[in-house]
Amino acid sequence: MNYNKIFLIDDNSTTLFYNQDVVSEYSPSSEVISFEDPDEFMRVYKEKYSTEKDPMLLLLDINMPQKLGYELLEELEEVYEDLENLHVLMVTSSNLRNDVEKSSRFLSVLGYIEKPLTVTKINNVLNGF
């Protein structure tokens, strides 16, 4: 699947810097938009992208001081009943099992990636390995 737009959310600026590079390598033609603050993403998404027709990819950090990744998903689901166009990859540094349990009920979540992010890991999840 080719995504025109890829969103990154992570509270750590260094992680964002690195993840941007990985994502640009994964899909050079995509526009990559980064957020350090999940609330800022909500605002911008509402304003610009919620009516987008083509599928978009969101790489979402799970453990952020402002908000946990799945809390953001809850908020998104509350506002938008249909999130079919937003494909989510959870990116985590903590114990995977726990995070999987908490986020698995969200339909938009395609999979999980343990940090550090790599092109191979994205490919593996998105190609269903």
């Binding site: 260094t14 590079d21 402002q66 540094s93 903590s94 940090k115 790599t118």
Partner: protein, 296 residues
């Protein structure tokens, strides 16, 4: 009635022995008294035993509670530590991969940015590990080594450990120590000051000289450590401001380098020393921490 029955029983037992001259009323009464007494003392012993069992189970309960508390602490400690350290490790691993890539392509500007970020990440990791070392020290008791405090020594140690923060900032730190042969833990004073001063520097206003007043006052029955600043302050009425919680880095704190360990360490140390912490803060005005620890 009971005694009579007992007497009769005793008599029956005694008749098994042939020497009749022993069976006088007095001897029997003395014997019964002996049996009675030993029963009473047995009873007393049992009561004492129960009391001891009761006491030790109370003691066990207390120890159990302490262990539970410690376990909970270790749980959140482990979780936070795993997350914090792993995040920085992933960043470093990722940045090294990136460095290789751009180095091969000879893209100097990107390479330089990566090196800067690597430096920042490894510094942050060092600070975190240092924080944990403090924390493990705060949890064990080796900080409770008491000595006569030398004010000069304290100030030098605090300066050395906050150097990496003060280096590139405009700040003025004033020390006011009123101590006379203060017998106290050097480590406790140092850790409290290092962490409070670090916070004051981290949360100073941008573009304004940070003014930090540090004082150590010895009273007849207590020692008072205080650090006040002209920093960004905080809204203490906000219930989300759980400033003493481990790894709590909410709101504005996320923009600041830190681990969320400092105030937690201080709280642990102060609690263990039966002291108290007072915080006064006003948004955009500054913050004052005052810690009082009783002298034993």
């Amino acid at each position: 009635m009971e005694l009579e029955n007992a007497n009769r029983l005793t008599l029956r037992q005694l008749r098994k022995f042939p020497d009749d001259t022993l069976y006088t009323k007095e001897n029997i009464a003395a014997f019964v008294k002996l049996v009675n007494d030993s029963y009473n003392s047995f009873d007393e012993e049992r009561r004492l035993n129960n009391h001891v069992v009761d006491l030790s189970s109370k003691e066990l309960n207390t120890i159990n509670e302490q262990l539970n508390e410690k376990n909970e602490f270790l749980d959140s400690f482990n979780h936070g530590m795993a997350h914090d350290i792993k995040n920085h490790m992933s960043n470093i691993t990722g940045l090294v991969t990136m460095l290789k890539k751009y180095h091969t392509r000879n893209e100097k500007i990107v390479v330089n940015t990566i090196i800067e970020k690597l430096e920042l990440s490894s510094n942050q990791l060092t600070v975190i590990v240092q924080g944990f070392l403090y924390l493990s020290r705060a949890e064990s008791n080796i900080d409770n080594q008491f000595n006569i405090i030398n004010g000069e020594e304290v100030i030098n140690a605090v300066k050395a450990e906050t150097l990496f923060l003060t280096m590139d900032r405009d700040c003025e730190i004033n020390y006011k120590f009123e101590i006379d042969k203060l017998f106290f833990s050097f480590h406790v004073i140092k850790i409290i000051f290092v962490n409070l001063i670090s916070n004051s520097i981290k949360f100073s206003k941008k573009g304004v000289q940070a003014k930090i007043n540090v004082s150590l006052i010895q009273n007849p029955e207590s020692v008072v450590l205080s650090v006040s600043d002209n920093g960004i302050g905080m809204d203490l009425k906000n219930p989300n401001n759980k400033i003493f919680q481990l790894f709590n880095r909410t709101g504005d704190t996320k923009m600041v380098k830190g681990t969320g360990v400092g105030l937690f360490i201080i709280k642990k140390i102060v609690e263990r020393n039966d002291g108290k912490i007072e915080v006064n803060s006003q948004l955009l005005e500054g913050t004052t921490f005052k810690i009082t620890i009783p002298l034993k």
